[in-house]
C-alpha cells in the first residue's frame, strides 16, 4: 500500500508515499508550514494548534496540513488570503496568552513561535487582542529544567514524550477550557511527581515553556 504519489505544493512537484501526512511531506521538501503540535508518528494527530492551514484544490475551506493524507495529483497552496488570515489570527490568539518576553526567554532564537513570525512576516505582538493576564509562577523544582506554564502553547509535545516515549506518566493535560494546562497530579510541583528528569519533554517543547537549567 506504499504507492508513490505526486502532488503539487505551491507549484512545486513533490513525490511522497500515499497516506503520509501533508505537513511532513511539505517540511521534508523544504516547504515551511507553521506547526506546533504535529507529531510525525501519531496516526491520529491532535491538530490543536491550528496553525498549519493550507488550501487544497477542491475543498472550499482551508484545512490543517497535519491531518491531510497526501493523494496523487493533490494541488496544495500554503499561502492564500484565507490561509494567511487564519494563521495570523491563530498566531495572535496564541501570543495573547503567552508571557511575551523574548529577550529574557531561554528559548530566544530557537523558539517555534519566532519561527512562525519570521517565516510569515508576523509581528511578535498580540495585535487586535488584549493580553490575557497570566501570572503563573514558574516551577523550578526539577534539578535540570524549569517549567514556565505562562509560555506554554498547549501543543502536547511534552505529554507525548512523557506518556508515550518515556512512559512515565508524570504530566498530562488537566482542567478544561481556558484553564486547560499541563500539570501534575493534584498540581504538585514536578519534583513531587513521578518525573524522572529524563529530559525528553524539554527537548520536545517548541517554545520556552520547558527549558534546561544552565
Amino acid at each position: 500500500m506504499s504507492a508513490e504519489v505526486t502532488l503539487t505544493i505551491d507549484g512545486q512537484q513533490v513525490k511522497a508515499v500515499a497516506g503520509e501526512k501533508l505537513l511532513f511531506v511539505a517540511l521534508n521538501n523544504g516547504i515551511y508550514i507553521p506547526h506546533l503540535c504535529a507529531i510525525a508518528e501519531e496516526e491520529r494527530p491532535s491538530a490543536c494548534c491550528r496553525l498549519c492551514f493550507v488550501e487544497i484544490e477542491g475543498l472550499s475551506r482551508p484545512v490543517t496540513a497535519c491531518t491531510q493524507k497526501v493523494r496523487d495529483k493533490m494541488t496544495v497552496r500554503t499561502r492564500t488570503p484565507k490561509v494567511d488570515r487564519l494563521v495570523k489570527t491563530g498566531f495572535e490568539l496564541l501570543l495573547s496568552d503567552h508571557r511575551l518576553q523574548c529577550r529574557t526567554c531561554p528559548k530566544n532564537g530557537a523558539c517555534q513561535l519566532q519561527m512562525v513570525a519570521r517565516e510569515r512576516g508576523l509581528k511578535l505582538k498580540t495585535g487586535r487582542f488584549k493580553p490575557l493576564a497570566k501570572d503563573i509562577p514558574v516551577d523550578h523544582s526539577p534539578e535540570t529544567f524549569s517549567f514556565d506554564a505562562g509560555r506554554c502553547v498547549l501543543c502536547g509535545q511534552c505529554v507525548h514524550a512523557d506518556q508515550n516515549i518515556a512512559r512515565v506518566g508524570a504530566i498530562n493535560f488537566i482542567n478544561r477550557g481556558l484553564k486547560r494546562k499541563i500539570g501534575t497530579f493534584n498540581n504538585r510541583c514536578l519534583r513531587d511527581s513521578p518525573c524522572t528528569e529524563c529530559g525528553l519533554c524539554v527537548k520536545a517543547c517548541p517554545v520556552g515553556a520547558l527549558t534546561f537549567k544552565t
Binding site: 491520529r44 494527530p45 491532535s46 491538530a47 490543536c48 494548534c49 491550528r50 496553525l51 492551514f53 475551506r61 482551508p62 490543517t64 491531518t67 484565507k82 488570515r85 487564519l86 489570527t89 491563530g90 490568539l93 496564541l94 495573547s96 496568552d97 487586535r128 487582542f129 488584549k130 490575557l132 498547549l154 493535560f173 482542567n175 478544561r176 477550557g177 481556558l178 484553564k179 486547560r180
Partner: protein
Amino acid sequence: MSAAPVQEYYQKLQEEARTKSAAQKHLPRVRVGVATCSIAAGAIRVKEAFEDEIKAMGLEAPVIDTGCMGHCYAEPQAIIDKPGHPPICYGKLDEDLARRLVKDFLVDDDPCFEFAMAALEPNDFFPTFEDYPRGVYEKKMILGQCGFINPEDIGDYIAQGGYAALAKALEQEPEDIIREIKNSRLRGRGGAGFAAGLKWERCRAAESDIKYVICNGDEGDPGAFMDRSILESNPHLVIEGMAICAYAVGAAQGYFYIRAEYPKAIERVRLALKQAREKGLLGQSVLGSEFTFDIEIFAGSGAFVCGEGTALVNSMEGNMGIPETRPPRMADSGYRGKPTVLNNVKTFAYVPAIVRNGSAWFKSTGTPESPGTAVFTLVGKINNAGLVEVPMGTTLRTLIYGVGDGIPHDKEFKAVQIGGPSGGCLPEAMLDVPIDFDSLKEAGAIMGSGGLVVLDEDDCMVSIARYFLEFTQQESCGKCTFCRLGTKHLLDILDAITRGEGTPESLDTLMELAEDVRDGSLCNLGGTAPNPVLTTLRYFRDEYEAHIREKRCPARVCSDLILYYILPDKCSKLCSACVGSCPTEAIYTREDGIKAITQEKCVKCDNCLKACPPEYLAVIKLSPPVLPEQQEGVKN
C-alpha cells in the same frame, strides 16, 4: 432467520399485556405526569394527595405515573380516566384540587369541567386538545404517547403496539431495513441533520465482528429538554429504535449516553432496560430469534462538548471529553475503535414508526428534504411554553403564534433564538421561514438541539449573544487555539460592549474574530459558537451601535447602561412598597414624601420596579444612565 417464532413470541407478549390492561378497564384510573418538570411543579405532592384521598374514600382506583405531555405551562397535570366519561386532562393542580377531584368526580360523578384542560377523546361535553389551535398545528410522531403511557410499565407500551416494529424488523433482512430508513430520508435530530440511513449503511458495510450502537442523550443545550422528556416519558420507544438499528447494522451491544444531571431519565431507562430483558426483548435471542443485543447506560459527567461524537467516545473510554479530528468516521472507527452508529434520542424514536408504517408514511409529513416532524422546547416570552412537535416546514410564525399562543403581556416580539449555543437569533422579518434543516441554516440559525427561545422587546440582543458565548466559552474543551482563546476574546469584547466600553473598531474585530473562530476551530463546538454573535450582528446591528455610540441599551437590560429612577409625578407618597423591597436600603423618602433612589447604593436588582403597584408604575429604567435632573442641568 426463522420468522414465524418471532411473531408468535410477540403475539403472546402483546396478549399478556392487553389482558392485563383490560383487567383494569372497569376501574377509574388517575394518571399523574411525573417527570422532572412536573416534579418541580409539585407533582409528587399532587400524586400523594390523589392516593391518600382515594384511600380515604375507600375507592379502588390505581394512580399511575406517566411522563410529560409537553404542556409545561400547566404543570402539574393529571388525566382521569373514569368509565362512562372520556379521559379528561386537568392542569395546574395542587393538593386541594386533587382531593376535590377525587370527591367530586370519582365519587360524585361531576367531572369539574371548570378545571379541565381538555378531553382526550372526542365527546359531546368538552373539547379535546385537537380542538385548540395548538392541536391543529401539532402533529405527534414521537411525542404521541408521552404523558399517556406509563414509562415504568413495559406492558403499557406493548399493549399499545410497542415492539411490534422490532418483531417486524427481525423478519426482514438487515439490508431491507437500511433501505427503508434511507428511503424515509430520516435526518439526524442531534443537530447536523445527517441522513441516518447513510450512517447505518456505512456502519453495516464496515468490516468488523464487533459494532456498537450509541444513543446520544447528552442534551447539552442549556435551554432544551425534549430528549430528557422522551427518555423519562417513553423510554421503550428509544430502546426499540436502537434495537432495530443494531439488528440492521449488525451490532450486539448498545449504550445510552445520558448526562448525570438527568437522574430521573437514567432511573427510568434503567428500569425499562430491565423490563425489556425480562420480556426477552433484549439479551440473548431477542424475541426468540437469533439476534442478540443488549444495552448499557453510561452517565455523562457534565461537559457540553461530550455531545460531540468523538468527545463522547473519549469520555466513554475513560478520558477527557476531547474531540478528535475526523476522518476516521464513527461508522468506520468509533467506540473502542469499532464501527459505531451514534444517533440522537429523537432520531431513534422515529425508527419504530417508520419500520411499522413505511417510509412513504414518514415522508407524507414535512418537506421533501426534511421529512417528518420537528420537536422543540418552546420557552421564553411565550404563553404556552412546553414541548411541541410540528411538521417540518411549519413557519416560525405559526409555531410562535399558533402553537405557542404568542407573546404574553402585549409585548412586542423581537427575535427567536433557535438551536441554543450553536444557533442564531432571527428577527420578525424572518418569521415566515419554514422550519427545516436547510432553510434555518440559510437564515444563519440551525435546527441544532431544538431549543427555541422567544425574545421580546425587553431582551437585549447583545446581552443574549453574550450569554450564549459565555456558555460556549466555559464549555470549550480547551484543546484548540481558536475555540479556547478565540471565544474568550469574543466574550471580552461583548462584555466591554455591554458595559458601554465598546469602540467602533471593536465591532470589526468582533466580526473578523467570529468568522475566524468559525472557520479555524477543530470541532463544531468552536465551529458554531460564533453563530449567536454573527446572527445578532447581521440582524440587530443597530443594538450593538446604540451600546457603543450612545452608551444606551435599547432594551434596558445591560446593568452598566441603565439606572433605576422613580418618577416624582407618578409616585404615590402614601405607598412605600419599593422601600421595603430594596435589599440595600437604597430607597429613601424625600421631604415631600416622594420616594427616591440613592444611585450609589443601587445594585439594579429590579425589586423596586416589580414592587411598585400597577396603579402607579412610578419606577422606571433609564438608558443611557443619566438622571433627568442631570439632563436638564438642574440640581436637586
